[in-house]
């Protein structure tokens, strides 16, 4: 039981923080949002730092790191509310590395690690909300070639990515099963329609019409759950970074802003809200550690842990976001001031991979007689 970071992990944190502070300031972010919410150049800078290959083995040109390094990285990106979807790369690279045939790994992982290829998860469907098992997309095989037909929503940077990891149903005599495929954006039968999401980042509807696909695994449900759990751990860590910075911005403002002749930080009614924000931040940070450290646990334990963690982070994000706006007052509801962007990011992260109510249902359904960090 040890929650200290190693020297290497601290160095990684410093490197990412330095890039966020110097290379990704609010003005650059604002320009990226105005230009559509995704900047390939910025993504390339993440690759230069080695982050796109964080989970990729050294044999495939990556850094071969683990969940703690991913957590450290996502926290720092959260502090800068970075738009480029590194979490997607962490999810898809881990999925390919664990489940894809060697040929597919060799074709994609080195390019993903180098930042030359972006692969994102395209699992969300209309009507499915947060249920991973609800999948209308269909896959079929003919003459050794798989094709996938279906429409996926809210695909991160969906019109910019080079390929998608796509869950689709395969019909077997013994019943239907969910499988995972890799579909290239440039393939025939792929149409995208991009739009902005509430946090300023970019997403797309991806329509697949008999699009050629490569099979990753027929055991798709377990693999999809693994991918989403990596995503949940990423979101939790990112949320910690966003909340940490949101609180810091709020504290600075409260010590500067004067009303009734004094800094508003002197008012006890406001100070107690800040204490409660600190509480939610540290509960959230604790459960983010918990999520990342449970990623390698057996599936049932892992799923339960992710639900608990995401419920806590959702609760923390909602509280800290709303309080930050209230404590700032009117300035916080303007587009010009930075805190509204942190608030929107927190709101979106809550609704990514299962919101608070959904996760509460998961925790509730998975309860056992005993409970604790180790059970």
């Amino acid at each position: 039981m040890d929650f200290d970071f190693s020297d290497d992990q601290e160095q990684l944190r410093d490197a990412v923080r330095k890039w966020v502070d110097k290379g990704y300031d609010f003005e650059r972010r604002r320009a990226i949002v105005a230009a559509g919410g995704f900047d390939r150049a910025a993504y390339g800078e993440l690759a230069e730092l080695g982050l796109t290959g964080l989970y990729v083995s050294e044999a495939h040109g990556g850094m071969g790191m683990g969940p703690t390094e991913a957590m450290v990285t996502m926290e720092e990106l959260g502090r800068g509310i970075v738009l480029e979807p590194l979490a997607q790369t962490l999810m898809t690279s881990a999925t390919l590395q664990t489940h894809a045939p060697a040929v597919l790994q060799a074709a994609w992982l080195p390019r993903m690690a180098a930042g030359e290829a972006i692969v994102v998860l395209a699992h969300q469907e209309r009507g499915a909300r947060y249920q991973l098992s609800r999948c209308a997309a269909q896959a079929s095989e003919s003459g050794g070639q798989w094709t996938v037909t279906g429409t996926k929503s809210l695909v991160a940077a969906g019109d910019q990515a080079d390929a998608y990891v796509v869950p689709a149903m395969v019909h077997n005599p013994g019943g239907n099963q969910l499988a995972l495929f890799l579909v290239e954006r440039s393939a025939s039968g792929v149409a995208t329609q991009a739009y902005a999401t509430q946090d300023g980042s970019r997403a797309a509807e991806v329509a697949l019409t008999q699009a050629p696909a490569q099979l990753i695994t027929l055991q798709g449900m377990g693999a999809l759950e693994e991918a989403v759990d990596i995503g949940i751990a990423c979101v939790c860590a990112e949320a910690v970074g966003v909340m940490d910075k949101t609180l810091a911005i709020t504290v600075e403002y409260m010590n500067t802003r004067k009303q009734f002749g004094v800094a508003i930080a002197s008012f006890q009614a406001l100070r107690h809200r800040v204490a409660d924000m600190k509480m939610q931040l540290e509960l959230g940070r604790s459960m983010s550690y918990y999520a990342s450290l449970k990623l390698h646990a057996p599936a049932e334990e892992r799923r339960r842990a992710m639900a608990r963690a995401k419920y806590q982070l959702g609760t923390s994000m909602r509280f800290i976001g709303q309080q930050a706006v209230q404590l700032h007052g009117g300035i916080a509801v303007t587009d010009e001031y930075i805190v509204s962007h942190y608030f929107k990011k927190l709101t979106q992260l809550d609704m990514t991979f299962g919101d608070t109510l959904h996760q509460l249902g998961e925790v509730s359904a998975r309860m056992q007689d005993t409970a604790g960090v180790f059970a």
Partner: protein
């Protein structure tokens, strides 16, 4: 970064588990698991069993006869005791006054007081709060006047937990009215059999007399019972608080009580009512998050890092959780928590409890009783002031 305990720590836990299983009296564990009334004898019996093993002062260093455990070992010991259904050790002797005597008392005081605390023979009480001094403890007025080789103590303490059983009491007393209120306070050990001391139990809302008023009327206390220096008592009391960070969160007991809540909810048919079940699920997440917070503080202690900024949160969250599980237990029983039959909370009662299930008898009383947790030990509002200070300056 590693969530798992080391193999050595796990072996230690197993050793404790085996010992507790073999030595905790079954009748006591049964009462604890069902929140029945514990007698003075129950509490003393367990304290003496621990004392005989050398574990009543489980946080003590070896030089004073303690086991010299690490912060993690102490945590594991507390967890095993709590989960097995051991009563909470009455903390005033082994956990509260002993560390102050060790750190600031003289060799004579070590020899005189520590053995009786370590064995569980002597029952200690705490004399801090006064009718006019609650959260603002430093405003305390109980006066100790030095006359020759004695102090003459006059005043009143209150909320003295289990003081009706107390043989000795450690008090914060005013020895000076000059300067800041904090600088005129001394730490005095007082024999409760001294002439002039009156203990009056206070009946609480749950019908129990858990706390007392303690009156001092020209009580003579030998000057040798002063711990450390005169007028430095406030610092000693603060030292005590700094050494009681994780214990106050009481997360181990919360884990045991969560199990009890689930048993009660199943028994009362509300465990499968999603509206109720979700409330248990929220509490479960709260408890896991609190446990992670505790583990983070322990890890920081292990590597010698300062974790003060999160340790302050433990009391707030821990106390809220204690209130919540008692509240949910009561709500699970619903109308059957309402019959107020005190005898039904005693082990072995043979009467007919309305609503049928005897384990429902203490639920409302427990709920009422737990309202204290956000008030005592520095009210949660005072704790928020402290947390806000660390964040806002």
């Amino acid at each position: 970064m590693d969530l798992a305990f080391t193999p050595e720590e796990l072996a230690f836990r197993d050793e404790i588990r085996t010992w507790v299983k073999g030595n905790l009296p079954a009748d006591i564990a049964h009462k604890v698991h069902n929140a029945m009334r514990l007698t003075r004898d129950d509490m003393q019996r367990w304290a003496k069993i621990l004392g005989k093993k050398g574990w009543l002062g489980w946080g003590w260093p070896t030089q004073f006869g303690g086991p010299g455990w690490t912060a993690v070992q102490k945590h594991l010991f507390e967890e095993e005791c709590a989960l097995a259904g051991a009563p909470r050790v009455v903390p005033f002797g082994p956990v509260m006054v002993a560390p102050v005597i060790m750190a600031f008392g003289n060799a004579e005081q070590h020899k005189r007081f520590l053995p009786g605390i370590a064995s569980g023979e002597v029952w200690w009480s705490q004399g801090y709060s006064e009718p006019g001094s609650g959260s603002d403890l430093a405003s305390l007025k109980t006066r100790a006047e030095r006359v020759g080789d004695k102090y003459i103590v006059n005043g009143q303490k209150t909320w003295t937990t289990l003081g009706q059983y107390g043989e000795w009491i450690f008090c914060l007393v005013r020895t000076s009215t000059e300067g800041k209120p904090q600088t005129g306070i001394s730490f005095l050990l007082i024999d409760m059999k001294s002439p002039g001391i009156t203990v009056r139990p206070i009946k609480l809302l749950d019908g129990e007399c858990e706390v007392n008023e303690v009156w001092f009327d020209n009580v003579e206390v030998p000057a040798e019972n002063l711990v450390g220096e005169e007028n430095k008592g406030w610092n000693y009391a603060k030292h005590l608080l700094a050494h009681e960070r994780t214990n106050i969160a009481d997360v181990n007991r919360a884990k045991r009580e969560l199990e009890r809540l689930k048993r009660i909810a199943k028994n009362e048919g509300v465990y499968d009512d999603l509206r109720f079940r979700d409330e248990i699920a929220k509490l479960e997440v709260d408890i896991v998050a609190l446990e992670m917070l505790v583990l983070r503080v322990l890890s920081a202690e292990k590597s010698g890092k300062n974790s003060l900024d999160i340790a302050g949160l433990l009391k707030i969250k821990g106390s809220e959780i204690q209130q919540r599980y008692t509240e949910l237990m009561m709500l699970a029983a619903g109308p059957f928590a309402l019959p107020c039959i005190f005898e039904a909370m005693d082990a072995g009662w043979q009467g007919d409890f309305p609503g049928g299930t005897l384990t429902n008898a203490p639920l409302a009383a427990n709920y009422f009783n737990m309202r204290k947790t956000t008030i005592y030990g520095g009210s949660n509002e005072v704790q928020r002031n402290i947390v806000a200070q660390t964040v806002l300056g």
